[in-house]
Amino acid sequence: MQNQPEIPFKQLLDDNKNRVYNTALNFVQNVEDAEDITQEVFIEVHRSLERFNHQSAVSTWIYRITVNKSLDFIRKKNRQKRFGFLTSIFGKEEGELSHDKGHFEHPGVLMENKEKAKILFETIDTLPENQKTAFILFHLEELSQKEIAEIMETTPKAIESLIQRAKAGLRQKLEILYNNRGI
């Protein structure tokens, strides 16, 4: 394990960039934000490469960083939204919120599915982080439960449970939404 040949950073980036970008896109559904996250992921990879101990596959390690950076990004956006809400209550000179709410812009979604996909992603966003992660990696990234367990450093059984809870939670929220919208 310790005598693994060093992989050049550029090769690592080229081999994994699409995977990282698409995962980030599935978390934030915005091209600009996904690009920022992708850059942050590879900056972290570059910073941590020497310390990487090869206890997991490189792709697993990079996926893990991608998930963490995506969740960090979402948390930061939510903090900015809360702050923006407070400043809007207490008034700002310009009368504008201080945060910038990214709009739904997932280029991978087919045109005819855009409206329902937007609803699904917005509902996924309301899930607890671990359920959200497991659902995205399983349904959108199409990883196996074993692979997801390695990324999330837990067991396949735990991932199965997370996915089931995520689906049940989503279904419940969609039902409420359906009833409220009077569709």
């Binding site: 992708t38 979604v109 599915n113 989503l170 569709i183």
Partner: protein, 99 residues
């Protein structure tokens, strides 16, 4: 049934999600940011050193000022005390002389 159908359609809406190509020049952008971060880190270190040196100088100067003040004040006190005891002894003597 309509509700179930709608919910299933929402779940299925991300089926056949098209994989996207990562943005162009990603490597160059990442390396650029890494270099910028290194440069900023060097500048912060240099600036921090200057502030630390300035702060240390202020602390040393302040201690010196207080020390000098204390020495001067102790010196004056000792002088006054000396004068006091001289006066006392003078008074005592004069008292003797008065006798």
């Amino acid at each position: 049934m309509k509700k179930e159908k709608w919910i299933n359609e929402v779940f299925e809406s991300t089926k056949n999600l098209e994989r996207q190509e990562a943005p162009a020049f990603l490597f160059e952008k990442v390396i650029g940011k890494i270099e910028l971060s290194k440069k900023e880190s060097r500048e912060v270190n240099s600036s921090t050193l200057k502030w630390a040196a300035g702060f240390a100088a202020v602390v040393v100067l302040t201690i010196n000022i207080f020390s000098v003040k204390k020495v001067v004040s102790e010196g004056k006190h000792a002088e006054v005390q000396g004068m006091n005891s001289e006066m006392q002894s003078g008074l005592n003597n004069s008292t003797i002389y008065n006798y």
